[in-house]
């Protein structure tokens, strides 16, 4: 069964029409990239899926169940995780608390935390440090680990490489790869080669609409169509 189906959603911020009929799907186990220039509605698409900004028309389905209009926490409980732009750490909380709060299966908090520190051994040493005191790269690790401990089937990842040094980007990419063996990813990424490298399929968004989609295998940056939509 299809994990996520977004069907012709229209989303507004006040009067401005941001998404003008976006449709996309994510299958179980897949990594899908959502690419496009700044301000074409990529982040809004993720927010709409989570019902943080409810669509005015269209529907969002998870495993066939319509979740449009539900509370965000109800959507998240159905196995969706969000790794937002700017990480959005709880900066006054410790790293451990940041992870602890993300565990949805409250009977197995200890095991989940142990697993997270296994996957991200570097985080162990910061366990009791306030998340706000970490570097950008370390915070990105915590954000990804937060997605991991929640037993999510699908992670919505927004610009994970933004503002990070090239060397760090490689580590982040590596951890995403590691996580993607267990879960599906819907990845918003400006870094085109990175997106193409991580994803199986892609959707190209422009002006609130999907203008191109396909497999990442037979796409190159030189593709005329894609270049036109990615350049400002």
């Amino acid at each position: 069964m299809t994990l996520l189906e977004v069907d012709d959603v229209h989303t507004y911020y006040g009067q401005s029409h941001i998404l003008e009929g976006v449709s996309l799907t994510v299958e179980a186990g897949e990594t899908v990239a959502l690419i496009g220039r700044n301000g074409v509605g990529k982040t809004t698409t993720l927010r709409t899926i989570l019902q943080l900004t409810a669509p005015r028309r269209g529907s969002v389905r998870i495993r066939g169940e319509d979740v449009t209009g539900l509370g965000t926490h109800d959507v998240a409980r159905r196995g969706l995780g969000w790794i937002p732009e700017d990480r959005r750490m709880f900066s006054e909380l410790s790293v451990e608390e940041n992870l602890r709060i993300a565990v949805k299966d409250t009977d197995r908090v200890g095991g989940k935390l142990a697993h997270a520190f296994e996957v991200f051994p570097d985080l162990e040493q910061f366990r009791d440090k306030k998340a706000g005191a970490l570097s950008g790269g370390q915070q990105q690790m915590v954000a990804i680990a937060r997605g991991l401990v929640g037993d999510n089937d699908l992670l919505l990842v927004d610009e994970p490489s933004e503002g990070l040094a090239p060397l760090i980007v490689e580590t982040v990419a590596e951890s995403l790869r590691r996580v993607s063996s267990d879960t599906s990813l819907l990845l918003v990424e400006q870094n085109f080669p990175l997106a193409m490298d991580l994803a199986d399929r892609f959707y190209l968004l422009d002006n609130g609409q999907v203008v191109e989609q396909g497999s990442t295998d037979d796409v190159s940056r030189e593709d005329e169509q894609i270049r036109r939509h990615l350049s400002a």
Partner: protein, 346 residues
């Protein structure tokens, strides 16, 4: 130079050594210690009347103007339980037991009422300008104060003076004065300090040691992210509002025994204003800040009370100083002691 001006000058000349004398009196270790104990007991009351306000503002951004009225209702409700349970022949220990029974009953009742207020009245206003939450809770104080006044009046209790029957249920050992390391201390002061410490520890443990406390601390920082982790923040709002109201009401039960406060309808305004001062001085919404601010305001209050009683003939001195702390704090450090530096965030 005119005669009046000369007279004024000589007044100053006389006043200066007088001031130095008083300062030496004040700095006497015995005086300092008793002012310190007095200040701590005031701080305990301040932290109790403010803790709920802080929790609610921290998570929900709602400045609850009805907070003082809920403390006042707690004072009457607690007083009622005490009057029913305690008779002349009740022993001291049993009276303390009755007090804790009153605390439990009042906390449970008012917490449920608070949750109800949040669900039915505050919730529909979240999408609007925050001004409307202030307006709503302000309207609630009018209704609650007047309702209490009607009820109290109906039973022949004077609404504007402290309710003596409730005051009289206090066990004798709390009114007595003890000498402790050469210091004379009123029993109730110690009781208040102990109760305040207990409350602070309980709230602190709830916030840092329970899963729900974790939700609340996370929700105060970023409620959207918390929701996206699968946590029902709206339900946390209801719980926190109930808790906040419950603590406010428990503070009222304690005040019903304190001779300088006592259960009365004006208690609503008398507690609301200092609670505002403490919550702003500490930094809106930080519990740590509220505890620190309550101690500062309590100690300053006690100091100024001593100066008024012994030196300066101006009865308004302590109260005026409290509001001056508010003004000075907002000028010097608007975000408060432990607040985040974003001025006028709400």
């Amino acid at each position: 130079m005119t005669g009046a001006a000369l007279a004024a000058m000589s007044d100053v000349a006389v006043a200066t050594p007088l001031f130095v004398d008083s300062l030496l009196d004040f700095l006497d270790p015995g005086t300092l210690a008793s002012v310190f104990v007095d200040g701590l007991s005031k701080a305990a009351l301040y932290v109790m009347i403010t803790a709920g306000l802080t929790l609610i503002f921290g998570l929900m951004g709602v400045l609850n103007f009805a907070h003082g009225s809920l403390t006042m209702i707690g004072a009457y409700a607690g007083g009622l339980v005490l009057v029913v349970l305690v008779s002349d022949s009740t022993g001291s220990v049993a009276r303390i037991g009755a007090f804790f029974a009153a605390v439990a009953v009042v906390f449970a009742l008012l917490a449920v009422a608070g949750a109800g207020i949040e669900m039915k009245l505050v919730r529909p206003l979240y999408d609007r300008n925050p001004l409307y939450q202030i307006l709503l809770t302000f309207g609630l104080t009018l209704v609650l104060d007047e309702l209490v006044e009607i009820i109290v009046h109906f039973y022949g209790i004077q609404p504007t003076h402290e309710w003596q029957a409730a005051m009289a249920t206090k066990p004798a050992f709390l009114t007595a004065t003890y000498s402790l390391l050469g210091l004379s201390v009123v029993g109730l002061d110690l009781f208040e300090i102990a109760f305040g410490v207990l409350t602070v520890v309980a709230v602190w443990a709830f916030l840092t040691r329970t899963r729900y406390g974790l939700y609340i601390r996370a929700g105060s920082e970023d409620s959207e992210m918390t929701e996206a982790l699968g946590i029902n923040v709206r339900r946390a709002f209801t719980v926190v509002f109930g808790l906040g109201v419950g603590i406010a009401a428990v503070a009222g039960v304690l005040l019903a025994w304190d001779v300088t406060w006592g259960a009365s309808v004006p208690l609503a305004a008398e507690t609301l204003l200092p609670a505002f001062v403490v919550v702003i001085v500490g930094g809106l919404g930080t519990f740590r800040g509220t505890v620190a601010a309550a101690i500062i305001v309590g100690l300053v209050d006690a100091t100024m009370t001593w100066w008024f009683q012994n030196v300066v003939d101006f009865p308004g001195l302590p109260e005026m100083t409290i509001f001056l702390i508010l003004v000075v704090m907002l000028v010097v450090r608007p975000q408060g002691l432990f607040g985040v530096a974003e001025v006028g965030g709400h």
